[in-house]
Amino acid sequence: MTAIRFPEFLDSLENTKYPFIPTATLTNGKVSLLEGTFLDAHVYATTSFFRYYISEVVVASDKFTIYIGDEAKPKNIHGEVGLPLTTVNVQLQDDYGRPAGILVSNSDRLALLSAWGIGTYKFERKQTEFCVTCQMPIPAPGVTGFLLETGELLSGKVWFVGDDGVVLSTSPSLNPQINPAPTLQINAVGDPLYLQRLCNPSDIFTPVNPVRIIRVVNGENVYDCVPDAQGNFNLQMNDALATDAALRIRTTYEGIVINVEGSTPSG
């Protein structure tokens, strides 16, 4: 019998339980994973990581989904394979679409899973646990992402931008003895001219030059009158000299009426 002395890496794993541990049964009593269904694996996740295994396989008419996790969170990451099979590897991701590893296979080998028929197939850890060399620990960096109400996840270099009346500011720690971390202050102070921005098209807005001063010219005397604190200008008769002055200024619904009280020739 002849044998290939140095088989290719994936070929050398074909008839082994790798990437599962040697004691994995590869069966849940109903369906079985054959040796060589997966040739290699590289599993990592940003959260919850301890002795990962295939916990569930869900076969549907148009795809099958492989769930992987640990005892604490059996469905922590997953990979989807569309049917009919065209892919060679199963790309794994977490609930937020972040990459979480790969199962190396090919379409012929993956066809085994689709042949199980539509349904949900659960496994225990002792049946499908991955080798420790296939499970890559990753650092716990603190905040891994900002999840928005829309379901969108922000990560990497994240920008907080104040807009539409929200102003952000930063400062050193306000109490460095207790907490030296810098401070991000969020302010809702409004944008006084915001309505101007809403004009669509923008050129529909025509700025006006507001009246800011009423200049009163009385003979050679000139007075610049500015509004009061409420922006109001008072126009009134001067009754300082006589209580029965004939000049009247009345504010009506129609406007401000200036007249002189007295008798008309007919009256």
């Binding site: 960096p141 907080f160 800011r212």
Partner: protein
């Protein structure tokens, strides 16, 4: 018979490259192409794609771009990726031809850069860039016997990848940490709505460009405190791991006494009569009502004995008490002789 170890096996097979992307029709001696790369050149490698690499599994790949014999003693291996953020960032491994077999080297790329905002708005100042965040990517390389490389590469010779299906690294040797963490928090403010002047008035002008998003601070890393500012309430729900920001009048620090600057250098427009940053007027700086009547049009009505003569050119209203239509008293001015 003792089994060969992992590296021994690898220098006799395509690994760590995908099958048929190297080692195809390799001549027994002499020059080679990348597709003919001998299996014993490289025994192992692995790569970690960083949080800002932009690497997408199944779409992008890592590959050996070129091997160069720099001089009599140095050989360089250059690994590239087609991930968008890695186009200009490659990993360079270097070997001395006297290095032993299975020499291992770890290398990481540069990290993203940014310009500190404290100077970025000072347009006349050249701003130095600063590194921030994790390296774009990193990796290790284990090489085979260097005498094999020397026998194939003459001094100054380079083997360069010429096709997309050459020297592709096995996908299971790649750990993709793209999007796996928040690398840095960066703060900015979008511009406020700036006041416009009428067509017949000189426009407002500021000492800085307007209409932009202004950076407040870049590259905040480590712990961060959130503080409720003016009219702001921050609600932390530890159960749902949620932080809510609610705009609420007089919450937090209450109402501000003056406008908040979007960035420290923000000032009112040049020649402004007040300190309003947007370039407009305070409410009490414009005539909004006369005797409590608001516009836009206020009627001034000339009653009995009064005439009003407007001049729209000079924006003048002449109010004349002419006693028109009124019966006036007549005085006898004849002098009496006593």
């Amino acid at each position: 018979m003792a089994l060969p170890n992992f590296f021994n096996e690898n220098i006799n097979r395509s690994f760590p490259f995908q099958r048929a992307t190297v080692g195809v029709d390799t001549p027994t001696s002499g020059s080679i192409t990348m597709l003919q790369l001998p299996d014993n050149f490289i025994a192992d490698c692995g790569f970690i794609l960083g949080p800002e690499s932009g690497f997408i599994d199944g779409v992008h790949s890592v590959f050996l771009h070129k091997i160069s014999r720099i001089n009599t003693s140095i050989v360089e291996y250059e690994f590239h990726s087609d991930a968008p953020n890695l186009i200009d960032s490659f990993l360079l491994f270097r070997r001395d031809i006297s290095d032993p077999i299975y020499q291992t080297e770890f290398v990481e790329s540069d990290a993203p850069f940014y310009a500190p905002v404290s100077q970025s708005l000072s347009l006349s100042i050249s701003v130095p860039i600063v590194s921030c965040g994790e390296p774009y990517w990193s990796g290790y390389l284990v090489t085979g016997p260097m005498e094999e490389v020397v026998s194939r590469l003459f001094i100054g010779e380079t083997v360069v990848r010429s096709g997309n299906n050459e020297a592709i690294v096995e996908p299971a040797l790649i750990q993709n940490l793209n999007q796996s963490q928040v690398v840095s928090l960066n703060i900015a403010n979008a511009d406020r709505t700036r006041a416009l002047r009428p067509a017949n008035c000189p426009p407002n002008s500021w000492t800085f460009p307007i209409g932009y998003t202004y950076t407040v601070q870049e590259c905040i890393q480590g712990d961060l405190q959130l503080r409720s500012g003016y009219n702001m309430q921050i609600i932390q729900d530890s159960f749902t791991n949620t932080i809510q920001f609610a705009a609420r009048l007089k919450a937090g620090l209450g109402e501000p006494c003056e406008e908040l600057k979007l960035f420290p250098q923000e000032d009112p427009p040049l020649g402004a009569a007040n300190n309003l940053l947007a370039g407009d007027h305070y409410c009490n700086e414009t005539l909004r009502s006369i005797n409590g009547l608001q516009g836009p049009n206020i009627n001034l009505i000339a009653g009995v004995g009064v005439s009003m003569l407007p001049n729209t050119v000079t924006s003048t209203l002449i109010v004349n008490i002419n006693l028109k239509d009124l019966q006036t008293c007549s005085y006898d001015t004849v002098s009496e002789t006593l």
